[in-house]
């Protein structure tokens, strides 16, 4: 199969599949065409799509290649499809992020990090298939451990877990902690007299804010 023909077939395969397709699967569909040739053709196609400002892009997602619409065109596509964007509340995103960065992780570990019961959010993540049960931890009580799924990578357009947003500033924060540990204790203050003044306006503000809180409508809470 010459290169032009190969590209043509690959284009059809990616279009028809919709989901991310691994090079291994493409190769199998192509009667065991050499993977290197497929890889090369895909890279060339992705570049061509990008340089020609096409409405479709070819991206590496969840261990495979996938055709996706150009994100600058999102508003038009949404209108055409009357698409409802996925509802991802902040607690849900927080929990998903913790699992993504710390997997495999148990529910008590998640709750320790969030400081709050996370059973409902976990159930929602399982239902949305962004997270799955990876087995049980070899520890007392054999707690269930969770990990993210291919659907998680697909939703956020990630090639793999290494492609998660870099958290390099974590190191900076850790350094700050180090310094705080060795340095003098900040913030342990003794000014009880100015506390009273601060309380009341704060509360008024708190309640007033409620309906405009920057929290997205909380699906996992209200549905329970």
């Amino acid at each position: 199969m010459d290169e032009e023909r190969l590209r043509s077939v690959l284009e059809s395969l990616l279009f028809a599949a919709g989901e991310p397709v691994s090079i291994a699967r493409l190769s199998a569909a192509l009667d065991d065409a050499p993977r290197a040739a497929i890889q090369k053709a895909l890279t060339a196609m992705a570049t061509a799509y990008a340089t020609e400002n096409r409405g479709i892009v070819i991206e590496e997602v969840a261990g495979g290649y996938q055709m996706r619409t150009q994100k600058d065109n999102a508003a038009y596509v949404r209108k055409l499809l009357a698409a409802r964007p996925p509802r991802l509340s902040r607690p849900l995103m927080e929990t998903a992020a913790i699992i993504a960065y710390r997997q495999p992780i148990t529910r008590p570990e998640i709750e320790q990090l969030r400081g709050v019961d996370s059973g409902g959010v976990l159930e929602t993540l399982l239902e949305k298939r962004l997270v799955r049960i990876a087995g049980r931890k070899d520890a007392p009580g054999r707690p269930i451990i969770y990990e993210t799924t291919a659907e998680f990578l697909e939703l956020f357009g990630l090639k793999d877990l290494d492609a998660l947003p870099d958290l390099s500033e974590f190191r900076e924060i850790e350094r700050t902690i180090e310094e705080a540990n060795t340095g003098p204790v900040r913030g342990v203050e003794t000014h009880p007299e100015d506390a009273d003044a601060a309380v009341d306006p704060a509360l008024a503000d708190e309640v007033g804010e409620s309906d405009a809180a920057d929290v997205p409508p909380d699906d996992d809470k209200s549905s329970r």
């Binding site: 919709g18 499809l81 996925p86 927080e94 998903a96 913030g187 708190e206 929290v215 809470k221």
Partner: protein, 256 residues
């Protein structure tokens, strides 16, 4: 933004309900208070934060809302740290302990904050279904199967418990001593599964007369599952358990 009345709703039964900003636990609330005071997590023990935190809990109490235990634990920690700082003779205080408490709290806050930031970054990415779209593709034929959950031993035991409970209600307790060999129950289960593509777990025990039969049948079922001759699955989590013959690989190879 309305500044009063908005969070209050009167429900059909006349009770007053309040909608409050949803703080996802004490760490979330503390970060919010710090941000508003333009402080960073290292200042979590500032007295203004402690006071506002406690005022918030008090408000929840006044509104007759249940304050989750984790909020109270955090309040206790904040007060303990504060009490150390307020001792007239600081040299008498266990400053080691106070510092350690504070350090742990600051670390928890920073760690929580970094995951929150990570979540925000993820949410800003080109989201499938919001910013980017794909072709629907052909639904894979095995998709229906993929949605099934394999029932665990716990699901089975729970379903078993339900069967026994129902039985206890129906059948007057008599004294029937019988030995039911598990091996005898196996062909009965297989026959039941032959007639249908699948049967519901509970129907397996429909004509079981007493507990010993039920238990022997259950043991036989576990044995069949262990041998991978029968598969137990649920279509929804915690839904009814269905049984089916597992993929008859041997039967297909040697048609009788």
């Amino acid at each position: 933004m309305s500044d009063e009345g908005a969070p209050r709703q009167i429900a059909a039964d006349g009770t007053v309900r309040f909608r409050l900003p949803i703080y996802e636990g004490p760490l979330d609330l503390l970060l919010h208070l710090l941000k508003r005071a333009e402080l960073d997590p290292h200042d979590v023990t500032a007295s203004v934060i402690t006071e506002q935190y406690l005022a918030w809990l008090e408000l929840l109490g006044e509104l007759n809302l249940d304050v989750a235990g984790e909020y109270l634990v955090m309040a206790a920690t904040l007060l303990l740290i504060k009490s150390f700082a307020m001792l007239p003779h600081p040299e008498l205080a266990d400053t080691e302990e106070a510092e350690e408490l504070k350090r742990d709290l600051v670390e928890r806050l920073l760690e929580y904050q970094r995951y929150r930031e990570a979540a925000e970054k993820l949410h800003e990415r080109a989201l499938l279904g919001r910013d980017v779209f794909t072709t629907p593709g052909e639904a894979a034929p095995e998709d229906a199967n993929a949605r099934q959950f394999t029932a665990t031993i716990f699901d089975l035991v729970e379903a078993m418990g339900a069967v026994l409970k129902r039985m206890a209600e129906k059948v007057p307790r008599g004294i029937v001593l019988r030995d039911i060999p598990v091996a005898e129950c196996i062909p009965r289960i297989m026959r039941a599964l032959e007639g249908a593509t699948r049967i519901e777990f509970a129907t397996l025990f429909d004509d079981a007369g007493d507990r010993s039969v039920v238990i022997a049948t259950f043991m036989a079922l576990l044995e069949l599952i262990r041998r991978r001759e029968v598969r137990a699955y649920q279509e929804v989590r915690f839904g009814p358990i269905f049984l089916e013959r597992a993929a008859p690989s041997t039967a297909a190879e040697n048609p009788a």
